[in-house]
Amino acid sequence: MRTDTGFLRNLGKRRGSQEDWRRERLDRGLKVRTEGLYAVSSWREILYLVGPRALLVLGLLLLPVLAPNLYWQRVLCVAGAYALLAITFDFLANYVGLVCVGGAFMTGVGGYVSGIFTYYLGFPWPVSILLGTVLGAVIVTLLWLPSLPLRGIYFAILTFMFPFLARGIILALDAFGGTLGLGPVYGADNIWVENYLVIAVMLVAVFALRRLVGEDVGILFLGVKDNDLAVLASGISITRVKAKGLFIGALGGCFAGAYIVHLYNFMGTSLFATDFSILPIAATVMGGSGTLVGPMLGALILTPLSELLRGFGQLRVVLYALVLIGFIMFKPEGIVNWLTRKYHQFEQWKKV
């Protein structure tokens, strides 16, 4: 089915010319999807649709192989964890309407819970990571629950404060190793396992969440985000919907924490570092809000970048902040949205 959805016109003067030029955006000839219905009728169209996704999956799977040495493979691991945090942030902020400015709390809780299972109870690391993810998500959801019925800003403020509070409490009570942290926390010790584990989880997260959003549950999330009064008038408890969304998001964040603990074989208050809160946000803004893939790519770009700047100490965080502000102010749509637009449409200047 080919449908013309029209074209956008952008009136603008081309520089240095006397005449009026007009920028026209036309959809590419290939239109296989409209308002959610797919109709594929040729191999070319299948390629058009599947191409980018296949490229993405393939690219990710090849990354560990393409990494030049062990050091960069490790960087890839950390980048993966950040990517999960970014995906989580994007999901929570743009699909459920919950802006989490304290992702570090999720990494901390997930990390400590899973670390406790491995360190104190001697559980095998896959079990610990699983438990850390699920139990951590439960704890995070319960603690942030009181702010869900309120306006969005309460949630944001609460999430912001929690990593600091948690760190303070652990230090004050000298619990779980206090300032020094605890270790060793035995993990996989095999770089290939660690690489592909995080890549697999990333891919699962992106595709599963994409699917979820298309399902009825996803519609509820969107409804609550855009139009909560109508949802209330339909007899549904907003708090419950938000809680479900929060729990799903927290699963991603807590996994990242659990993963990192077993990657570094160490758990300490560094799990609550502001990096874990701010880099995912920068990655999301840079990569493209709402796309889930964009934030993932954003993290995969920003993390190695910050590794290169390791010598500059805290300058890394300044970098994230600058990237964030720059993108919000000048290119708020982000990279992936921009690419998508380019993919589906092309622009040309037409003389008026």
Partner: protein
């Protein structure tokens, strides 16, 4: 129309700071009635709806639905009891297709209870409901993105959203406003059909002629308090009512 009291509102009031938006309003509603609520702008009609449906907590007064006290309860609870409402400011889920808009109420606990959890194909049910309110079944319309629909369809979508909840009482907040004569002509049978299906209606309206053709009873609000309550002709003949409107709408539609 039956004799069963479905809604009892007693001395309902709300003050915002110094302003008395709703001032000791009382009325009773029987199942099957269509009751109109009219009054000049700012007379508290929408506030009244908000108080009954839980979106705003009353300062004082009581609301009983089928004998149960629902005063000041949460809006989703009240919807769960069986009271649905439309919004004056249209609130469709803009980025979703029209029929997808109905998924939200179809997943509500109330519908789950009513169908025993076996609703079947939700999409098909949604399309059916849209047909009930006048969306042409075969055309493209139910699949269009909600934000691209013209106003007439959006109003119907609001009604559909209410219907999907399987309510016993629907409160319509100005469903006729902003529509052309032709669109209104096609909306009136839709509302009639609702009544025939056993749903009680409260309709807030400015379009008096259409309202009077549907409603058997009307209450008039002015400055938050109830001026009159009774059959349309009787109410409109009252001096206070005429004074409240001061010849603007009354002259035009009588």
């Amino acid at each position: 129309m039956t004799d069963e009291r479905i809604l009892e509102v007693t001395d309902l009031a709300k003050s915002f700071g110094g302003v008395r938006a709703v001032d000791d309003v009382s009325f009773n509603l029987n199942r099957g009635e269509i009751m109109g609520v009219i009054g000049p702008n700012g007379s508290g009609k929408t506030s009244l709806v908000n108080l009954i449906t839980g979106f705003v907590k009353p300062s004082s007064g009581k609301v009983l639905f089928k004998g149960q006290d629902i005063t000041g309860k949460a809006p989703n609870k009240i919807a769960d009891y069986g009271i649905a409402r439309t919004f004056q400011v249209m609130r469709p889920y803009g980025s979703l297709a029209a029929y997808k808009n109905l998924i939200v109420p179809l997943t509500s606990p109330r519908v789950k209870r009513a169908t025993g959890g076996k609703l079947g194909d939700r999409d098909a049910v949604a399309i059916d409901i849209l047909e009930e309110v006048g969306f042409e079944r075969d055309a493209y319309v139910p699949y269009k993105v909600a934000s691209s629909l013209p106003l007439g369809y959006l109003k119907r979508l609001e009604l559909a959203r209410c219907l999907a909840l399987r309510p016993e009482l629907i409160i319509c907040d100005e469903v006729f406003s902003g529509l052309s004569m032709a669109e209104i002509a096609t909306m009136v049978p839709v509302v009639e059909r609702l009544r025939i299906n056993g749903i009680t209606l409260i309709m807030i309206e400015h379009r008096l002629r259409e309202l009077f053709s549907l409603a058997n009873r009307v209450i008039v609000l002015n400055f938050g308090s109830k001026l009159a309550d009774g059959p349309p002709d009787e109410v409109m003949a009252r001096d206070e009512v005429k004074a409240a409107y001061m010849g603007t709408e009354v002259a035009a539609t009588c």
